[in-house]
């Protein structure tokens, strides 16, 4: 299932959150996942237009720490890849 929250807007093309470079920030565009995962990621703050920054990477590269809505959240590559974001 694919839920698109927003109409296309100008700016760089959306990329998976897992591809966001370390230190960069972006805005959430959509989540490509089943309803359960979408619901959970939303509860963790990944709502449309939410600003998210990639803050850190584990010593072995995965998982990574993202900062959003005043919290620091750690996600594995597999889940972060489902979140499409538009880099700033």
């Amino acid at each position: 299932m694919k839920v698109v929250f927003n109409e296309p807007m100008p700016g760089p093309a959306p990329i998976p959150l897992s591809e966001l470079p370390l230190g960069a920030s972006a805005r959430v565009v959509a989540i490509d996942a089943g309803p359960a995962l979408i619901q959970r990621l939303e509860a963790l703050g990944f709502l449309p237009e939410t600003e998210v920054a990639c803050r850190r990477r584990a010593p072995l590269g995965d998982p990574r720490v993202y900062e959003l809505r005043g919290t620091q959240l750690c996600l594995r590559r597999s889940e972060a890849a489902r979140i499409r974001v538009r880099p700033r």
Binding site: Q39, R40, A43, P63, V65, G70, Q72, C74, E79
Partner: protein
């Protein structure tokens, strides 16, 4: 603690305390109820049920501490219980009269999604913003009056562990029916709900809190690729040291104390069966329960301290990738490491794993980690049969064999985790996510209440089973009774005639392919109480006297099978027995704690079965190979 007033005759007001993990919910629970929580399980599930009484103006309030959840969508058993309880669909537990929702003021932006979900339940609701001091310190500001207005429910700002705001909250709590109710519920349709969230935030959030400077500074070290990894290794060594070495003096002291108490009791009572039963059965059983307490208290003090400080989430983050390779997650690491000392505290430490499937797999493989109870068995067999020579110039052969047994257990655990996470651990709906909370110094009271809760759960739930089995095993080892001469030889004859002795003989066909005779069989039966018991039992069978173990080593080395004239303990048998102890779940305490933590006998039975099958198979192969090499 002051004594509570006389119980009210009326039914107490029931309040559900709900909030996401790290939202200060447990601190608030403790502040409201003192340390008088009752802990149990919800019917049919492993979700912990905590309730406590708060007294306000002579009225009793029943506070239900619901498991921490990020959402009411039931992906995990915790969330399922919370959702069903609040909707009145949990058998035997009516929905509460009112809900108290704790939200960390510094993460209101995130938590408002949960607030909207809880509002939609339609139960009387009171919102408690915790850690308002931290919000201020980080330059953030929330307009509480506007938040109350926007949500339509009472809002109280508190600092739980300092008691700030608790007076106002206490005045509200007894009367949920008088709380203001929202005129309109938040919309459920995602797009409309998102608009609602944005409009509420725009009205109430005067200033967004900046990043916590302390947390940033600490994380620059703790999450640094090199420094963080070194720190992680250091903390894990500390864990290991704590349970392995530092708990030992206390455990030895308890052991000595119980032994001395037994001697006193034996001296005071007339010699005979009753005194034997009280000392060797009941008292020894009680001793085998409380001997775990130093490990459990130490492990959980460190575990909860690091958890409440905010370090455990970072540790899980550092090691998650490695654990992911065997199908587990970062939080499983501490549990498995602790199991190297003892599987009982290790299995209890799996409570920090939110995914029930991952938790189950971790529990099922933890007995494979080489626990300290195996050491006396390894020491006896290696000391008796592995020559104390050095190989390659400086490595002791005895030490190498011991290391090999540790490596074998660890490798087997990795393999079992890989297989089990793809079979019984499959189909987990819960994705992996981990919040890295800000570092906070936990109030001592919070840590104490958590550690005490863990110790009490162990004593009540596992302790009773361990005691019961110890008593049953005593009967097996002492009945039916035969009249024998006193002294070691008499004890040996009495043991052979006992039910356990007969069981050893009956087991012989099943264990003969492994190279074990009936005497080892009796030892295996007795070792069900605890692995190291086989040493004492073998000492009794071989009528070995002397506490230093030298005579037992000598006795098993020179024992000859009367039928074949060959030694009972051939190299093949010794290797096979060592391998058997690497795999087999010969430990009632582990089974009891598995029963307690999974709330069913199904998983301890499964673990016992699969590990017994592994042990039998590996011992059989070992016996064959070593036999072929040595004859």
């Amino acid at each position: 603690m002051t004594a509570p007033p006389a119980p009210a005759l009326s039914v107490p007001v029931r309040l559900g305390l709900i909030g996401s993990p790290n939202s200060g919910k447990t601190t608030l629970f403790n502040a409201l109820t003192g340390l008088r929580a009752r802990v149990g399980n919800y019917p049919g599930v492993t979700v912990e049920r905590r309730e406590g009484d708060a007294w306000v103006e002579g009225a009793r309030l029943r506070v239900i501490d619901l498991p921490g959840v990020y959402s009411l969508a039931p992906l995990s058993p915790d969330e399922d219980v919370v959702a069903r309880l609040l909707e009145g669909r949990l058998a035997g537990v009516p929905p509460p009269d009112g809900l108290v929702l704790t939200v960390d003021a510094t993460s209101l932006e995130r938590s408002l999604v949960l607030v909207a979900e809880v509002l939609r339940l339609g139960l009387p609701l009171c919102l408690v913003l915790t850690m308002v001091d931290e919000l201020r310190a980080r330059g953030g500001s929330i307009d509480l009056a506007k938040l109350e207005d926007a949500l339509g429910v009472p809002v109280v700002g508190v600092v739980g562990h300092r008691g700030v705001g608790l007076g106002e909250l206490r005045r509200l709590l007894p009367h949920p029916e008088r709380w203001s109710r929202p005129p309109l519920l938040p919309p459920s349709e995602p797009r409309e709900r998102n608009a609602w969230l944005a409009s509420v935030l725009a009205r109430v959030l005067i200033a967004r809190p900046g990043p916590s400077r302390t947390t940033e500074a600490i994380d620059r070290v703790v999450l640094h690729p090199v420094a963080g990894t070194l720190l992680f290794a250091g903390v894990m060594v500390l864990f290991f040291q704590l349970i392995f070495a530092w708990a030992t003096p206390a455990m030895d002291a308890l052991d000595t104390g119980v032994g001395a108490l037994g001697e006193t009791l034996r001296a005071a009572l007339p010699a005979g069966l009753v005194s034997d039963f009280l000392v060797d059965g009941v008292l020894a059983g009680v001793g085998s329960v409380i001997v775990f307490l130093p490990q459990i208290l130490l492990l959980f003090t460190l575990l909860y301290l690091l958890e409440d400080l905010g370090y455990m989430a970072r540790a899980a983050f550092v090691v998650d990738r490695l654990m992911g390779r065997i199908g587990l997650e970062g939080r499983a690491f501490v549990a498995l490491l602790s199991s190297y000392a003892c599987a009982v505290p290790g299995i209890m430490a799996t409570r920090t794993i939110p995914s029930p499937r991952q938790r189950l797999v971790t529990i099922l493989v933890s007995p494979l980690m080489t626990c300290s109870a195996r050491l006396p068995v390894y020491a006896l067999l290696i000391g008796a049969f592995v020559p104390p020579v050095t190989v390659a110039g400086f490595l002791g052969l005895q030490g190498l064999v011991l290391l090999g047994l540790y490596v074998l257990g660890g490798t087997a655990a990795l393999g079992a985790a890989t297989v089990l996470s793809r079979t019984v651990g499959r189909g987990d709906a819960l994705p992996f996510y981990l919040e890295l909370p800000c570092y906070r110094m936990p109030p001592a009271r919070l840590v104490v209440s958590q550690v005490w809760g863990a110790a009490r759960a162990f004593l009540r739930r596992a302790g009773t089973i361990i005691l019961l089995v110890s008593v049953v095993l005593w009967f097996l080892l002492h009945f039916p009774r035969v009249e024998t001469a006193s002294g070691p030889e008499g004890a040996r004859l009495a043991l052979e005639a006992s039910a356990a002795g007969q069981l050893g003989h009956a087991l012989e066909p099943a264990i003969a392919p492994l190279g074990f005779d009936w005497k080892i069989g009796v030892g295996l039966v007795a070792s069900l109480a605890a692995r190291e018991v086989i040493v004492a039992t073998l000492a009794q069978i071989y009528a070995a006297s002397g506490p230093d173990g030298a005579s037992l080593r000598e006795a098993i080395r020179s024992d000859v099978d009367p039928r074949t004239g060959r030694p009972v303990f051939t190299p093949a048998t010794v290797a096979s027995l060592l391998v058997f102890f690497v795999f087999a779940l010969q430990c009632t305490s582990t089974l009891a704690i598995m029963r307690r933590e999974t709330n069913s006998w199904r998983w301890p039975a499964f673990a016992f079965g699969y590990l017994l099958a592994l042990a039998w198979g590996a011992s059989f192969v070992t016996h064959r190979i070593v036999n072929a090499l040595t004859t």
